[in-house]
């Protein structure tokens, strides 16, 4: 989505700040709020996503559940995940979660990406892939704490939910929001969404869901896609929503300390060699060595003559 009218605050594989002269007075953090307690699993959002983004995934096979396709793909950027959970009273709870990019404030994909400008973060918080800069290495998959990006088999580029950055940039809400018949999906400023979520959580608590809460994980600096969960104390019930997601320490080491230290180590090694040459000088062989070598040879040969 290159021709955007949104301010970019972060680009992948870039060591200097982004253009920052604009005041950003119009930039407000946005968020999509997914209320799992209102979701009926109709998948209208999946269809809207396909339609707006012009995606048609391959027809798959029925895996014996409502979940279809079974997983996110390069052509399916959002997906209803259906979890059948037995609660402590022995009742079945059908927990349905719309999965897709969480648009982390501290995005692991962007941190891991080696290609300048293939992943950007806008001032409004949306994390977007610019596929024309994508080299297809899959480091974003390695960096993502939510297992979201998918590399297309067709063009070897990474794809995921854009939060409809093209629509948001012209003041529209994302396509999925448009399609939701129950109001489980809402979109607005992050602040408004947090407030709306707080009201929802209060309502849920009054109905007996004492652990209801907002999922806005601080380990990734908060997200611009948030969930209202009936069981916020156990997010993993919702088909493996991570409990305390963060950019893995391994990825932070690889993309943090290792980079400057690695360059420094290489530069130091090369300079050490250069200055050794300057200070100590080359190790040369001169005519005296040749004479000693010839003497050694003569000695060895005469010794072997004596002991045939």
């Amino acid at each position: 989505m290159a021709l955007q009218s949104l301010d970019i605050v972060r680009r992948s594989a870039t060591t200097l700040p982004e253009p920052g002269i604009r005041m950003g007075t119009g930039d407000i953090a946005v968020a999509k709020l997914i209320d799992t307690t209102k979701c009926i699993g109709c998948k209208a959002c999946q269809v809207a996503c396909m339609e707006w983004n012009d995606l048609r995934d391959e027809i798959g096979t029925n895996v014996g559940a409502y979940q279809n396709p079974p997983d996110l793909t390069a052509s399916s950027w959002t997906l209803m995940r259906f979890a059948e959970v037995e609660n402590s009273k022995g009742d079945l709870e059908w927990l349905i979660r719309k999965d897709g990019c969480m648009h982390c404030q501290d995005p692991g994909c962007l941190k891991a990406c080696p290609s300048p400008g293939a992943i950007v973060q806008y001032a409004n918080g949306i994390v977007d892939f610019h596929e024309e800069n994508c080299i297809g290495c899959g480091y974003c998959v390695t960096g993502c704490p939510f297992n979201i990006p998918r590399i297309s088999k067709k063009d070897h580029k990474a794809y995921k939910c854009t939060l409809c950055s093209d629509r948001v940039s012209v003041g529209l809400e994302p396509a999925c929001i448009k399609s939701c018949p129950t109001g489980a999906l809402v979109f607005g400023s992050k602040e408004d969404m947090q407030q709306h979520a707080a009201e929802r959580v209060e309502d849920l608590k009054s109905r007996g869901f004492e652990n209801a809460g907002l999922y806005d994980p601080p380990g990734v600096g908060g997200t611009h896609v948030m969930y209202v969960l009936h069981h916020a104390d156990k997010p993993e019930l919702y088909e493996g929503l991570p409990n305390d997601p963060q950019v893995s320490p391994t990825v932070r080491l690889w993309k943090g300390l290792a980079k400057p230290l690695g360059l420094a180590a290489m530069a130091f090694t090369a300079l050490a060699g250069f200055f050794h040459y300057v200070r100590v000088g080359p190790n040369e062989t001169d005519e005296a060595d040749e004479i000693k070598a010839a003497a050694e040879r003569a000695r060895l040969l005469s010794a072997s003559e004596r002991t045939p």
């Binding site: 060591t15 080696p114 297992n147 190790n283 040369e284 070598a293 060895l300």
Partner: protein, 219 residues
């Protein structure tokens, strides 16, 4: 280099196959290092232009790495037996101050390779093994799908660390060849002078004389 009369008493240190094998490995290493560094640090991403851009760098890098490994396997087969560490090698390493200050007369005798060269050899063996295993895990186009995400993350770090150690080691290797005059000629033209062999690899020099002597004497 050109004005000096051609010597007739030089010793053959590397034959044409050794040299071809060494330089095939070296060329593959340089290409693998440049393409890998392009993906390692944003400041070096420009190196990807040498390979036809980012996607081509991503496509080519693992194949170049495999070529380097293949070339090195042959090289290791040639040089393996000369690179076992011996007691005198550890003594040689303990006297590293004499080594770096060109005081070779104070060092233990050296065979075909000195302890530094042997260490370079074994570091390359270990790093290439690490690069191969971690590289397969992070090779997204063909293999990553078969591995859990934790292992992919770990392999990414291991790949970077092995590559850095290897690059630094090869920098030392290259510098040593520039530092010890006559070494580059040995690997480009194959021969060394008796004085060079006597000074830097005296035990090997004796072996060469004995070998030549026993060849020239019919039994």
């Amino acid at each position: 280099m050109s004005s000096a009369p051609r010597r007739t008493d030089t010793l053959l240190r590397y034959n044409a196959n050794d040299r071809t094998n060494h330089w095939s490995t070296a060329i593959a290493f340089i290409l693998a290092a440049l393409s890998g560094l392009a993906l390692f640090h944003p400041a070096l991403f420009g190196l990807s232009a040498l390979f036809g851009g980012g996607p081509w760098t991503r496509i080519l890098h693992p194949f170049i790495g495999l070529l380097m490994l293949l070339a090195f396997l042959f090289l290791a087969g040639r040089f393996w037996s000369h690179n076992h560490m011996e007691p005198r090698d550890w003594e040689w390493l303990r006297r590293y101050r004499d080594v770096i200050n060109n005081r070779e007369d104070r060092l233990p005798e050296v065979g075909k390779y000195n302890a530094g060269q042997k260490l370079v050899f074994w570091v390359i063996v270990v790093c290439l093994a690490g690069l191969l295993l971690s590289g397969l895990v992070i090779w997204r186009a063909y293999f990553s799908q078969y591995f859990p995400i934790g292992l992919i993350r770990l392999s990414s770090v291991i790949h970077a660390i092995c590559a850095l150690v290897l690059i630094c080691t090869i920098l030392v290797h290259i510098y040593a060849a520039i530092w010890v005059k006559g070494s580059v000629h040995a690997m480009t033209r194959g021969t060394v002078t008796p004085g060079w062999a006597w000074k830097h690899h005296r035990a090997w020099y004796r072996e060469m004389i004995h070998a030549a002597n026993s060849r020239s004497r019919p039994d």
